[in-house]
């Protein structure tokens, strides 16, 4: 391991230890580190914007219309933010958010319902095993139980399933996630896991 690999390793390990110590014992240290993280994130955002401009600027030169629309949108929102700050406009950015971003995100999220429906329909076509039947039964049960139907037994059954089966499963998942988080944290601290370098990990 040469110095190019050791320096990031040492920096990452020290930063991780400092974060851990700050989180547990020294809130002031954590606050100070958080300031640096926020600053670096802001710089990274600026770099991302510059990269976006460079990439799509080159595409605009080559005649890409979509890139031109993207850059025009960026310029428009940035202009609205400037005019809002100067007091020339009121709520310009908020209006764009409400009229453009919110409907688009909601529409994309709604498409997920169609995807799930088609996937569920094709489940038994691809493979018919007990997992497929379990999946089908579970989906049908939860969908039915979520309906506000005048059937007390259905509501009770749903409470049992959610309070016992689902809760047990989720608790198991949470415990597993916690153990995995601890493991990954330790590996990061000791340098066995290096997502910030090309080598990545000691494991194959």
């Amino acid at each position: 391991m040469n110095w190019r690999q050791r320096v990031p390793l040492v920096v990452a390990g020290l930063a991780g230890l400092a974060s851990l110590i700050g989180l547990l014992f020294a809130p002031a240290l954590a606050h100070w580190l958080l300031g640096w993280v926020t600053f670096l994130a802001a710089v990274a955002l600026l770099l991302g914007i510059a990269n976006l401009l460079a990439v799509h600027g080159g595409r605009v030169v080559r005649g890409n219309v979509y890139s031109a629309v993207l850059l025009a949108g960026m310029a428009a929102v940035f202009g609205l933010a400037v005019t809002d700050a100067l007091g020339l406009t009121v709520g310009g950015v908020a209006a764009v958010f409400q009229a453009v971003q919110a409907p688009l995100e909601a529409a994309l999220a709604a498409l997920l319902a169609f995807l799930l429906v088609f996937a569920a329909m094709r489940r038994l076509r691809r493979r018919r095993d007990w997992n497929a039947y379990l999946f089908l039964f579970t989906v049908l049960f939860l969908l039915t139980a979520s309906l506000p139907l005048p059937a007390a037994w259905l509501e009770e059954a749903r409470a049992v399933v959610q309070g016992v089966v689902v809760t047990a499963g989720v608790r198991g998942l949470l415990i597993g996630i916690a153990l995995g988080t601890i493991t990954i944290s330790l590996r990061l601290l000791i340098g066995a896991e290096r997502p910030y370098s090309k080598q990545g990990s000691d494991q194959p």
């Binding site: 926020t38 958010f97 971003q101 919110a102 909601a106 506000p148």
Partner: protein, 565 residues
């Protein structure tokens, strides 16, 4: 440039090659002739300044030297007579293979015995080098017995003192470097290591067939010539052969020896890569593998069942059905399921606990976290609306915060005051939890500018309500803020996230939970004075759920019926 003929493909290869460049076959060691290893300047001399073309240096090639040529070259010395004595054994060739002058030397007792003659002397004591002191190279030879070009050589001025000068020269060329002129010592010819050749010649074991004592058996096979090396000044004519700048490319004059691979220096003729030829064994193995592959059972072809969802027309129909179901729920005058009556039966227990927490925080500040993006606004906005209305009813001032940048404008739709952005996820929440509910003024999060009143307001927060559809956000709030235990937490989550939040509710980390549209509808229905948009969305959801249930049942029933026995 002398080449080596490949015995396999008859292709010419550069001298010194061990393997054929064409077919890769191993070239015989004896295939390397003397010529390529002879210095280029010597070859040039051979071709240029030989007085008689008929008696050129070709006779030297008949003297096959160990290390330079074929195996028949054998040292004819016993170990006692090693340096400075060197000897060359002429292979037992027929008289026709020897130059005439060399054959004629034999009867004069020069130590060179014609094979034909030596074969007739079988049984007689072999004239070993030690037993034949008269075979000294100093013994003069008759000028007539030498080839003309040898006799005409400049150093041999007096014919009466003519010795085996040509042989002497050759052997001197094989002596250690300290016996060579300076310009020769700076020459390093690959393949002609003078010291190595001499050492090999002198140190090689003598075969039993050669004369060691009496040498009677070897006398009929070999004719030996022993020449004692001596201090010999390089003749002038050799000096004239000193290579110049335009010398043979196999020789480089430099300050220090430079190894030059003759094969590299030699002009390389591109050879065609030979095509691969499988051996009989390889062909048999390939045939066996082919047979095994054909005999192996191929995996059964997947069962092809006509798909209901693959057809574009069917997809279009399904999409229209789903949209119609959603629209029927939203367009209540057309299809009103009357769910209001169903939800008025009461809030879910978790929602009732949340309502109790709202009442407990009556009149005190409540922190509301908008940890969701517009993608989930369709569901979570239905929860926010009744909760904010209830907090307003309880006269609880609201302070807003979000861990997401996109959550700030979401909060801006509900509040007049801007929400605070909280970076740092778990670390940021941990820092926030240090001051919440302590009664002391809170330091503003990074990037925020709070006046004293705001700082005191945050320090007096009595309840935290989090709206989120993200598991990480839920877990971070509970583990970092809820674990501090100073401020109770109430969660408003999507129905998809409800299973994750339920365990925390049962463990007491959460004091209340509002799960999706049914709970929101119940909240709104209880607030009689308000409209209930959540009920419309809930009806739309019910229609959609019903349609999805029907589609799943119908499609899977279709696939089950299509199943082949």
């Amino acid at each position: 440039m002398t080449t080596v003929i490949c015995p396999n493909c008859q292709k010419e290869n550069p001298a010194g090659s061990r393997f054929c460049n064409n077919c890769g076959a191993r070239l015989p060691a004896g295939g390397t002739t003397l010529a390529p290893d002879v210095p280029g300047w010597l070859q040039a001399a051979e071709q240029a300044d030989v007085p008689n073309e008929g008696d050129d240096l070709a006779w030297m090639e008949d003297l096959e030297l160990t290390g330079l040529g074929s195996p028949p070259v054998q040292p004819a010395l016993d170990s006692q007579s090693a340096p400075p004595v060197a000897a060359v054994v002429v292979s037992p060739a027929s008289p026709a293979d020897l130059p005439n002058w060399l054959v004629e030397l034999t009867p004069r007792g020069t130590g060179l015995a014609a094979p034909a003659e030596s074969s007739t002397t079988a049984g007689q004591p072999t004239p070993t080098p030690a037993a034949r002191p008269d075979t000294s190279p100093e013994q003069p030879l008759a000028a007539a017995d030498l080839p003309d070009w040898v006799a005409d050589l400049a150093p041999l001025e007096a014919a009466t003192t003519t010795s085996l000068a040509g042989v002497n020269f050759l052997l001197n060329a094989l002596t250690p470097a300290n016996d060579l002129p300076d310009w020769l010592t700076t020459l390093e010819v690959k393949g002609l290591d003078l010291d190595g050749v001499l050492a090999e010649v002198t140190a090689a074991p003598i075969p039993p067939a050669l004369p060691t004592g009496d040498g009677a058996k070897a006398a009929d096979q070999t004719a030996t010539m022993e020449v004692e090396t001596e201090e010999w000044e390089t003749p002038e004519w050799v000096q004239q052969l000193k290579p110049g700048a335009e010398a043979s490319p196999t020789i480089t004059v430099a300050e220090r020896p430079i190894d030059i691979e003759p094969v590299i220096v030699a002009p390389h003729e591109p050879t065609q890569r030979p095509s691969f030829r499988a051996t009989l064994e390889q062909e048999q193995q390939a045939a066996l593998l082919r047979r095994v592959a054909e005999a192996a059972e191929s995996p059964p072809a997947p069962e092809r069942i006509p798909s209901l969802a693959f057809s574009p027309r069917m997809r279009l129909v399904l999409g229209v059905l789903l949209l119609a179901a959603a629209g029927m729920g939203l367009w209540r005058p057309v299809a009103n399921l009357g769910l209001s009556g169903l939800t008025q039966s009461g809030r879910p227990p978790a929602a009732q606990a949340a309502q109790a927490a709202f009442l407990a925080a009556q009149g005190r500040p409540v922190l509301v976290a908008f940890d969701y993006t517009p993608a989930l606004a369709g569901e979570l906005d239905s929860l926010v609306e009744p909760v904010l209305a209830e907090l307003e009813t309880n006269s609880s001032p609201v302070v807003a915060i979000s861990q997401y940048a996109a959550g700030l404008p979401v909060a801006g739709r509900w509040l007049d005051t801007a929400a605070a952005f909280l970076p740092g996820e778990a670390v940021g929440l941990r820092a926030l939890a240090a001051c919440l509910g302590t009664g002391e003024p809170c330091a503003p999060p990074l990037g925020q500018v709070w006046d004293t009143e705001q700082q005191q307001l945050w320090g007096q927060v009595a309840l935290v309500v989090i709206f989120t559809g993200d598991r990480d956000s839920l877990v971070n709030w509970i583990e970092q803020v809820g674990a501090a235990g100073r401020v109770p937490l109430v969660m408003g989550v999507t129905q998809a996230l409800a299973p994750v939040a339920t365990p925390y509710l049962s463990s007491g980390r959460l004091v209340g939970l509002i799960e999706g549209l049914p709970a929101a509808t119940a909240f709104q229905e209880e607030q009689a004075a308000r409209s209930s948009p959540a009920a419309a969305i809930l009806e739309s959801q019910v229609w959609l759920n019903g349609l999805v249930i029907f589609l799943l049942l119908a499609s899977n029933f279709y696939y089950l019926m299509k199943r082949e026995p």
